[in-house]
């Protein structure tokens, strides 16, 4: 301990130390000289001869000083510093190599850091709540004949009963996402909000930064946004802000396990859901497990409670997806952290895998460059070895070079990752990533990055270093002397060839993955949605509004509003035709239910049940196959009618669509019978990758249910922008407090529905291209190097009569053999690995022969092209010059 301290102090007093030592040794020398002079019997100051003799006895002063200093120094650290300096000097001397190596490492590490920061932020970063690992989302599932049916929501009544009975939780909260409107300050603003039970924040373990949380014992009506104590108006109800949450607070409700994450919640409103009948499931349950309770135990208790009919009434929970009676219900308690990351998790893990391939390829390539350089540096290394540098010393030097390279690459990589994240995050399709806020480059990500550079150090440094350790290096000095360099360093070259082939194999796997996604995307986008989103008559523009219950409490008012608006929209300039629907295709909302056909057993189908106005099919370009469209005469007072899609008509008549007319259908068990007056073509309602959905269209004006509050005006027009403005102005005039939810064209809606596959395809494509570039450099480097090494051999061959074509063939055949070997391994690897992409593929199998063939041929062509340049250079070798050069 003390000695380390003294040594550290020494570092600061180096000069003093040297001076002292100098003095001490001079003193010693003087004394010695005097002693020698005394021995000779001469008195007085010692003669020069005596001095010289004394100095001789003392030996090399420099060495003596070095030796005296050594106990003080940190040898390891100092040699390391020395090695670092040496490495930097070498890098400066070879800017071409340095640039290439750094670029590759930065690319590899940068991509990995970026993807890791996303994966970490989305999947693993602990949520900003107290003990987030104890938070669970409680849902239920039933094993039925048609597979497992999962239910994420509960009726508030069930929630209250569960809350009072459960023992494994500290607290159980409920929440329900809503989308209300904030009014009273400027334009009406749609906000994302969540109705929560009063104990919601206590369950999360979060306290407001200012103000207070909700009172659990009183019926409070409060919420938060701006300033505590101020009043804001939400959905027409004035509310007092009681608390403001901390700035890093985040809550994005996940709807269903796997699909979507709603936007960040702006407003939390307390709710006890009074008047709940226990029939409608719409709240999510969030529980905090008691310390020490496992998820399994929580699930076991909930399963027992859920199957108790006095807590969760069976069989009466709405129409679609009802909990079936007499079937055991299983409760599930998913960690809040994992809940809703299902498909994202798979995608991110695939991406992490893909980028680690890129890094591996980059590292292998840099290792390859290093080895090629090592051969060139044989002279230097041999001389150093001859001068007494041990093998370990040399290996350490090489590893230090790798460390320097990797760390520099890593710093550049972090920089690159920062840019990559900044550029791509805004491009991520909406709702595709939950917890985007967690994606930042922080200490943990940096640690990961450092780990990566360690890996790259090992690959980049160890492979060449081990080569030095190999016996072949002994001949280094001889080679340096210039003897017999005909074919170069065989063993090293074999290793390099192997590495390049491995690169090709890994690149092929990545490329095939990208190829599969591209083919799948082409398949997906060539699917017709069944309507004409754009055509000769222009495009279909939609404008969606939600009529809030506090302004439109009666269906009659909604009908009147819709009717009036539609009249004005139809007369707007630029509008060819206009109509409305409550749930447009490719929209956020889809309403479906079971149905009956008069005189037939209940079909085992769910039908979409949009409410539309006259002219809808004309606007959308959906062909009317038989019968008539709805008209203005199909009012609430007129006989109830319906138009069905072909798929529904087939359910009750085998003949043409015309035979379907006149039959009666019924939506849900209690409804009225509707007479079918028309049959239209099928469409895809929910996505190009979804099957055709049976549809039963009902006149908007005849519908009194709650879903008519969602009104999407659709208009076919050649000038969508000005029409949107027109509609917007009309709505503002008719209802100033009404916010406009969205304005999209059907083209945009369809594009948005494929945004995620497109994003996946682009990302994986990007990685594959990066890998291909790097691997191409690898082949080029190897072949260029080989040609330089075999200059003389090629010269001899040409002197002996080989034609240019022969030389070309010589080089290209070798390249082809390497590429082919890599491709074969890569194909085998891809066949095994692409299965992970299964769930992201549409209409394409993981071993799709088209993607496999095209990609393989492509990579082979690229590989040969990379070899072509050095090959051509080989043909230009002047035999005389090549032979003379040695």
């Amino acid at each position: 301990m003390g000695s380390v301290l003294r040594r550290l102090l020494f570092l600061f007093r180096r000069h003093q130390f040297d001076r002292d030592l100098e003095d001490e040794l001079r003193f010693h020398e003087d004394m010695k000289a005097r002693a020698l002079a005394d021995a000779d019997g001469s008195s007085g100051p010692p003669s020069d001869a005596a001095r010289a003799a004394a100095r001789r006895r003392l030996g090399n002063p420099l060495r003596l000083r070095e030796q005296a200093r050594e106990p003080w120094s940190f040898t390891t650290v100092e040699t390391f510093a020395q090695d670092v300096r040496h490495s930097l000097r070498l890098m400066r001397r070879d800017p071409g190599f340095t640039f290439t190596a750094l670029a590759m490492l930065a690319l590899g590490i940068g991509l990995n850091t970026a993807i890791f920061s996303v994966a970490y932020g989305v999947l693993w970063r602990p949520l900003p709540y107290a003990n987030p690992d104890r938070l669970v989302i409680v849902s239920s599932a039933q094993q039925t004949g048609r597979g497992v049916k999962a239910f994420s929501t509960w009726a508030p009544m069930s929630y209250e009963r569960l809350r009072s009975r459960v023992t494994v939780l500290d607290s159980l909260a409920a929440y329900a996402p809503i989308d209300p409107t904030l009014t009273g300050r400027g334009d009406p603003l749609p906000v994302s909000a969540v109705d929560v039970s009063p104990n919601f924040f206590a369950t999360l373990g979060v306290n407001p930064a200012r103000g207070r949380a909700f009172l659990t014992d009183a019926s409070a009506s409060d919420d938060r946004t701006a300033i505590v104590g101020q009043s804001i108006t939400i959905d027409g109800v004035p509310r007092t802000v009681v608390g403001v949450l901390p700035p890093d607070f985040t809550f994005r409700p996940v709807v269903g396990n796997g699909a979507m994450a709603l936007p960040e919640t702006d407003v939390f409103l307390p709710n006890r859901w009074p008047g709940d009948t226990g029939r409608n499931r719409f709240v999510f349950l969030l529980g905090r497990m008691k310390s020490g309770v496992t998820r399994e135990r929580a699930e076991a208790e909930f399963t027992a409670l859920v199957n108790d009919a006095s807590i969760v009434p069976s069989g009466a929970l709405g129409t679609e997806g009802a909990l079936a009676p007499n079937v055991r219900t299983l409760a599930r308690a998913a960690g809040l952290q994992d809940y809703g990351t299902g498909s994202v998790r798979a995608l991110l893990l695939i991406l992490v895998g893909a980028v680690s391939f890129v890094l591996l390829i980059a590292c292998v390539n840099v290792a390859n460059l290093q080895m090629a350089r090592l051969t060139a540096r044989r002279g230097e290394l041999s001389v150093r070895m001859a001068l007494g540098a041990g093998r370990r010393r040399i290996v350490r030097q090489l590893l230090t070079e790798a460390v320097v390279l990797s760390l520099l690459g890593a710093s550049l990589g972090v920089f690159l990752a920062r840019i990559a994240i900044g550029v791509t995050l805004p491009l991520v399709p909406q709702f595709a990533l939950p917890r985007v806020g967690g994606i930042v480059i922080d200490v943990r990500v940096m640690a990961f990055c450092l780990g990566l550079s360690l890996v790259s150090t090992l690959v980049v440094g160890l492979v060449p270093a081990l080569r030095v350790g190999g016996a072949a290096f002994g001949e280094g000095l001889a080679l340096h002397a210039g003897e017999g360099r005909t074919t170069g360093d065989r063993q090293g070259e074999r290793l390099r060839t192997l590495l390049v082939a491995a690169q090709i194999a890994m690149t092929l796997v990545l490329l095939i993955g990208a190829g599969l996604l591209i083919h799948s995307f082409v398949r997906l986008t060539s699917v017709s949605p069944g309507f004409e989103s754009s055509g000769r008559d222009g495009v279909v523009q939609t404008v969606r509004v939600t009529l809030p219950p506090h302004l439109y409490d009666e269906p009659e008012r909604i009908h009147a509003f819709a009717r009036g608006m539609l009249d004005r929209i139809q007369s707007l300039p630029g509008v060819k035709s206009a109509s409305l629907i409550n749930s447009p295709p490719f929209g956020m909302m889809f309403i479906q239910g079971d149905f009956d056909i008069e005189g037939q057993p209940k079909p085992k189908l769910f039908a979409g049940t949009p409410k539309i106005d006259a002219g809808y099919f004309k606007v959308m370009g959906i062909p009317l196959l038989a019968g008539r469209d709805f008209t203005a005469r199909d009012t609430a007072a007129a006989p109830k009618v319906a138009i069905v899609s072909e798929r529904v008509a087939r359910e009750y008549s085998q003949g043409g669509p015309g035979e379907g007319l006149g039959r009666r259908v019924r939506l849900d068990d209690r409804g009225e019978w509707l007479t079918v007056v028309g049959v239209v073509a099928d469409i895809r309602q929910r996505g190009l990758d979804r099957p055709v959905q049976p549809m039963i269209y009902v006149p908007f004006q005849q519908e009194r249910g709650g879903f008519v509050r969602f009104v999407s005006f659709v208009a076919r027009t050649a000038t969508p922008a000005s029409v949107v403005e027109g509609i917007r102005a009309e709505i503002r005039r008719a209802a100033p407090d009404l916010p406009i939810d969205t304005t999209v064209t059907m083209d945009q809606a369809v594009a948005a529905s494929v945004a995620q596959p497109r994003f996946r395809m682009l990302l994986l494509g990007l990685f594959a291209v990066a890998a291909t570039l790097i691997a191409t450099c690898g082949i080029y480097g190897l072949m260029a190097y080989a040609v330089t090494q075999r200059r003389r051999e090629i010269g001899v061959r040409m002197a002996l009569g080989a034609e240019r074509l022969d030389v070309l063939r010589l080089v290209l055949t070798r390249a082809l053999r390497i590429v082919a070997a890599g491709l074969i391994v890569g194909l085998a690897g891809a066949a095994g690995v692409t299965r992970v992409l299964q769930r992201f593929l549409f209409g394409v199998t993981p071993t799709d022969p088209i993607a496999f063939t095209i990609v393989t041929l492509l990579l082979m062509a690229v590989g040969l092209m990379a070899a072509w340049l050095p090959a051509r250079r080989a043909t230009r070798i002047d035999p005389c010059a090549a032979l003379r050069a040695e």
């Binding site: 003390g2 000695s3 003294r6 040594r7 002292d20 030592l21 003095d23 001490e24 040794l25 003193f27 010693h28 003087d30 004394m31 010695k32 006895r57 003392l58 030996g59 060495r63 003596l64 030796q67 005296a68 200093r69 050594e70 106990p71 003080w72």
Partner: protein, 114 residues
């Protein structure tokens, strides 16, 4: 670099140099030259201390805190670096002496056995 540390060609048993220096300094503070002279004299010229071993050894002992070094005026009126034994050094001397006599005894026993 590394080999030089043990390569000092003194004819001492390895590890004894530091013990001898410690012993010398236990009598009085001395400068490097004095230590060398003292050892040479006492051993009747059998032990010649190489400067190449002496000064690194002194530095090693300094680092370990066995000796203190300070500049003083020597007997012939010159500035010289004097080394003084510290408490730690004194303790070390005991350790080394014990180890040496143990080793010496062992060697003697081996040599006496016929």
């Amino acid at each position: 670099m590394k080999e030089t540390r043990t390569k000092g060609k003194n004819e001492l048993l390895p590890g004894t140099l530091e013990m001898l220096i410690l012993k010398t300094l236990s009598i009085e503070s001395m400068h490097g030259y004095g230590i060398a002279q003292h050892l040479q004299m006492l051993s009747a010229d059998v032990l010649t201390i190489e400067e190449g071993s002496l000064y690194p050894a002194l530095q090693r002992m300094h680092v370990k805190g066995w000796v203190l070094a300070e500049w003083k005026i020597s007997a012939n009126n010159r500035r010289a670096r004097f080394y003084t034994l510290t408490t730690a050094g004194r303790k070390q001397l005991g350790v080394e002496e014990a180890r040496f006599s143990q080793m010496f005894g062992a060697i003697m026993r081996v040599m006496k056995t016929t």
